[in-house]
C-alpha cells in the first residue's frame, strides 16, 4: 500500500498505539534473534554431531567415562592395599600380579561397559532433544 509508512501518516491521525505495538513486535523479534536464536542454533549443532549420528558432546563424554573408569579402579586397588596394610598385611609379588590381572580385566570390562552406556545414553539424549525441546520449538516457528 503506497503511503502506509508511519512517516507519511498525517499528524492529525492518532496511531500512537498501533505504532507502539509495531515497535514492540520488532523489539521482541530482535531480542529473540539476538539472544535465543544463537542458543537454538547451538543446540541444533550439538545434536547433529558426526553427520547426525551422535551429539558433538560424545567424544568428551567418552573420554570422561574412560578417565573415571581408570580412576575408580585405581582407587579401589589402592584401597585394598591400604586396608591390608592397616592390618599389617602385604601382598607378595604373585598376589600383587594376580591383583593387577583381576583389576585389569575388570577395568577393561568396565571401560567397555562405560563406553557402551555412554554411547547409548548419548543417542537417547539426542533423540529426546530432537523430539522434545527442538520439536516443540519447530512447531512454534
Amino acid at each position: 500500500m503506497g503511503g502506509s509508512s508511519s512517516n507519511s501518516v498525517p499528524s492529525s491521525v492518532d496511531m500512537v498505539a498501533s505504532q507502539k505495538n509495531a515497535d514492540l513486535v520488532n523489539q521482541q523479534w530482535a531480542d529473540y534473534q539476538t539472544r535465543f536464536q544463537p542458543q537454538e542454533a547451538n543446540l541444533i549443532n550439538e545434536v547433529n554431531g558426526n553427520g547426525g549420528l551422535q551429539t558433538t558432546l560424545l567424544p568428551q563424554a567418552l573420554a570422561q567415562a574412560s578417565a573415571d573408569n581408570s580412576n575408580v579402579f585405581n582407587s579401589e586397588k589402592n584401597q585394598q592395599n591400604r586396608d591390608l596394610s592397616r592390618y599389617g598385611q602385604a601382598m607378595n609379588d604373585e598376589q600383587r600380579q594376580q591383583q593387577g590381572t583381576q583389576f585389569g580385566i575388570a577395568e577393561s570390562a568396565g571401560a567397555a561397559n562405560a563406553n557402551n552406556t555412554t554411547i547409548q545414553t548419548d543417542q537417547d539424549m539426542k533423540n529426546t532433544v530432537m523430539s522434545g525441546g527442538l520439536g516443540a520449538a519447530s512447531g512454534a516457528v
Partner: protein, 198 residues
C-alpha cells in the same frame, strides 16, 4: 475468447486504493482501548527487559557452563563416594578383616565396577542436565516455560541408586554372616545403618 479474457482479468493483481494512483489513503484511528493495551504491553515489555532479561542471561551463562570439567569431576566423585559410603566403611571391624569380609579382592573389583557404572551414568547426567537446560532456553525463546533442572546432587544420587543395588547384592552375599542391610533405601538410610548398625 471473451470468457478467457474475463478470467485473465480475475487472475491479474488487484489494484487497491493507495497503490500509487493518487487515491485517498484512509487510516484507522486508535481507540482508547487500543491505546491502553499498547501502553500496558509496552510497560510489560520494559518490565521484562529490566527484571527478567538479566536473569535469563544469567541462566544462559549457567547452562553453557554446566558441562564443564569441574562438574563432571564433582558428580563422578560424588557418585563413587556415595556408593562406597553406602557399602559401609572399608575396615568396619577387625572381625570383618579376619573373616575376609572387606579384604577379599572380589569386593574391591565389584565395588570398582559399580563405581565405574555410577560415575559414567552421573557424567551423562551432567551432559543431559546441560541439554535440558538448553531445551529450557529454547522453550523460553518460544515463550514457553522452562522445565525444572535437577541439581548435581540429584544427578549423582540418581546414578548411584541403581548401582547401589547391584553392588550391595554382591557385597551382601559375601557379608551374609554379618547380616544384610536393605538396598535402595538411599544415602540417608545407608549412612544411618553404617553409623548405628551392628
Amino acid at each position: 475468447m471473451r470468457l478467457f479474457k474475463f478470467w485473465i482479468w480475475l487472475l491479474s493483481p488487484p489494484k487497491f486504493y493507495g497503490g500509487g494512483g493518487g487515491t485517498t489513503t484512509t487510516y484507522q484511528q486508535d481507540n482508547p482501548q487500543q491505546q491502553a493495551l499498547a501502553n500496558v504491553a509496552n510497560q510489560k515489555y520494559d518490565y521484562y527487559q529490566a527484571k527478567y532479561v538479566p536473569l535469563e542471561n544469567q541462566w544462559m551463562d549457567t547452562v553453557s557452563n554446566m558441562n564443564n570439567q569441574a562438574n563432571h569431576n564433582d558428580v563422578s566423585g560424588m557418585a563413587a563416594n556415595t556408593l562406597k559410603q553406602s557399602q559401609g566403611p572399608q575396615t568396619q571391624s577387625v572381625g570383618d578383616s579376619m573373616t575376609g569380609g572387606r579384604l577379599q579382592r572380589g569386593n574391591y573389583v565389584d565395588m570398582a565396577s559399580a563405581e565405574s557404572n555410577a560415575a559414567s551414568n552421573a557424567d551423562m547426567g551432567v551432559t543431559d542436565r546441560m541439554l535440558k537446560g538448553q531445551e529450557g532456553i529454547v522453550a523460553m525463546g518460544q515463550g514457553q516455560s522452562a522445565g525444572a533442572i535437577g541439581g548435581l546432587t540429584d544427578v549423582a544420587s540418581q546414578s548411584v541408586q541403581g548401582q547401589n543395588t547391584n553392588a550391595s547384592n554382591v557385597f551382601d552375599r559375601q557379608q551374609a554372616i554379618n547380616g544384610t542391610y536393605g538396598t535402595g533405601l538411599g544415602m540417608a538410610a545407608a549412612a544411618g545403618i553404617n553409623k548405628y548398625g551392628s
